[in-house]
Symmetry: C2
Subunit: 397 residues, 2 copies
């Protein structure tokens, strides 16, 4: 069995995270992804977050495994001609250079469409290609900031606003871009028509806050920071402190308040008039959370979770990365999967988040060395060994 995108070929000019993770999703689903990199040093992702000990960039590994690396100097005319030649037999071209860079290289949509009218030409930007920031470069933390996400993340006591603890804008931007590419491929499959597709970090992060922003746009009530919960889910939607760590509770049907109090071994709380009605609990939620933090701090998380689970109340432990790594849930669902790596040996990496019954996604190979597949790819497109050697001598590859 092969992935759902088997037979789809992607000519991939992407760098860093948003673009490369979009094509990683496609590679895991069976697409052939040909990563085009500058000869000599390759793309910036290769030197980001390099581990001191192994000299491996886990950043590059995590978002480029399963791709082929082809080196081409795009600033040389022969390099430009070469990628346009390859595009005749590809389905998708993707890049996330600063808006205007590909056009300046003579590699805009018009050139690729000229080479292959059926091509899907996908580009990702930081802030969108129109408007006052339409030519501005950017990255994850800037998109988190401009989109409003930073403003609602952090303790809700006037403390400093915070970014999310991982590069979430890059990730959401990547999945959104991949979604656009697949929609365009589906349209092409049904009509024969190619087109240009765009997504941005900012647009993806605005969409990620659809609910919360729509609430503001309709009510004009500025939300505070979400604190340990969510601004619009004020009750028992919260991360609490326990004796040995933290746990999350994910809401409670109002009629189950007495059950909750019994489950946490504090039945008298149900009779406390400050919390006796839903309205009172919402009004006095800060006091309630303070009391619960004190109460939960007396016993370890596992004990509370066992009691809450038994009462069928939404709850979960706050896992650190070590716990994520050992959680059988992640192994059994193949969210974490084994991979043999040429330098690192047998390691575990993050798998595809999508399960297909007929065409399973698959983690195929480690991240490619720079130019590892240059000869193989070009020969596959009909270049002879002599032509390849000549291009290499001319500094094109």
């Amino acid at each position: 069995m092969t992935g759902p995108l088997e037979g789809i070929r992607v000519l991939d000019f992407t760098i860093a995270q948003q673009g490369p993770y979009a094509t990683l999703l496609m590679a895991d689903m069976g697409a052939e992804v040909i990563k085009v990199e500058q000869p000599g040093h390759g793309e910036i992702g290769r030197v980001l977050a390099v581990d001191r000990e192994s000299r491996v960039s886990c950043y590059f590994l995590a978002i480029n495994r399963g791709k082929k690396s082809l080196t081409v100097d795009l600033k040389k005319e022969k390099g430009r001609e070469l990628v346009l030649r390859l595009a005749r037999d590809c389905d998708v071209v993707v890049h996330n250079f600063r808006p205007g860079v590909m056009e300046k290289l003579g590699l805009g949509y018009d050139e690729f469409r000229g080479a292959n009218p059926r091509i899907i030409y996908a580009s990702a930007s930081a802030f969108g290609t129109r408007g006052p920031l339409g030519r501005k470069p950017g990255n994850d933390i800037l998109a988190q900031a401009v989109s409003g996400l930073v403003s609602v993340t952090g303790e809700n006591d006037g403390s400093h606003p915070l970014p999310t603890g991982v590069a979430i804008a890059d990730h959401v931007g990547a999945v959104t871009l991949a979604l656009g590419i697949l929609a365009a491929l589906l349209h092409r499959e049904r009509t024969g028509e190619g087109q240009q597709v765009e997504a941005s970090l900012l647009g993806s992060m605005v969409a990620a806050q659809s609910w919360e922003l729509t609430h503001y746009l309709v009510t004009r009530q500025l939300p505070g920071r979400a604190g340990r919960g969510h601004h619009h889910l004020p009750l028992l939607w919260q991360v609490y402190t326990t004796a040995d760590g933290y746990m999350a509770i994910g809401g409670l049907y109002p009629h189950r308040w007495p059950d909750f109090c019994a489950a946490i071994d504090w039945p008298d709380l149900a009779g406390d008039e400050r919390f006796e009605s839903l309205g009172n609990r919402i009004r006095n939620r800060d006091e309630l959370n303070r009391l619960l933090d004190g109460h939960f701090a007396r016993r370890p998380a596992a004990e509370w979770l066992k009691r809450l689970e038994a009462a069928d109340i939404f709850c979960a432990p706050v896992h650190d990365y070590e716990q994520v790594a050992t959680d059988p849930q992640n192994r059994e669902n193949e969210y974490l999967v084994p991979l043999r790596h040429p330098q690192l040996g047998d390691i575990t990496v993050v798998g595809s988040p999508i399960r297909f019954s007929a065409t399973p996604a698959e983690i195929r190979e480690a991240d490619p060395a720079l130019g590892q597949h240059t000869d193989e790819v070009l020969q596959g497109f009909g270049y002879s060994a002599e032509e390849i050697e000549r291009l290499r001598r001319e500094g094109v590859l």
Copy 2:
């Protein structure tokens, strides 16, 4: 021009956010989404985060606009037969009930495949359908907790771990699910084969941390909380305090350190030996950030941003929701779009994050009233007015 998914019909059993936002993305791209809801009260999203003044649920509006609402009692045999009948002429079935619920209703993949072998049967769960939590229900904050995201979000001084300020797991889970559906549709278009597709909140959030988790899996170095930046981007990747708000800086090429110091009107800082080399700046980053916070606190954000922009340094304001709402960047890129709403009048909502040159996404209509399209949909599938009336009398609709 119509969207890339024009002609794709989705029978949508989803509730709350992850499932409904996945089908919203599809509706914006031109799919016909038929939302199947329980007669009488509809799905839970209709009563979440209802605005006191307008009585409108901005939650429901934000993630269900542009869909059709059909009421069917799935617990009645005739209701079950009806949706299986509709599925014969649909392309996709989607649900995000707790694993096992649809099967118990006699509406699992086998039944739908029996009705339509080409159907794409998509389901979303909280934690995946296998493993110890394979039958456990869950929601956004629990997935943020179990996936490790909460553990790395928050101040890095030993403070409390925090969820992201919006329902980010629901969003990432939704886009991931939609991606899986489109991949399966594309495969079906190319081969004729239908299949089952699954995504989960947990799997989507593990994938969202691909880089950061891979780093842990390879190095076994437990990251601290990201604080005001990112654990693996320790230098000048940070949200800073200014005289009138906050701003973000998104990294600096090491050789540009003197330019940065000049841009912030503090050229002497470049000569400070604590920060004179990249290694020193990383080692002394806490001290550097403390000094910069003090320095930036002297002037308003706009002034700093102007200076940093002029020096071509990655930076951005931390926008609150009011600033997001008025930012021309969001209007001009159609991240925020106008919508006429039957109760609210002319409002602004969040648009599609994807731009297609040939088949633009489009925000068509407001969120449907419960059962608003029951007659229209059923007539479109060949039911006569008499049949519909009879089903309604029998309590099926």
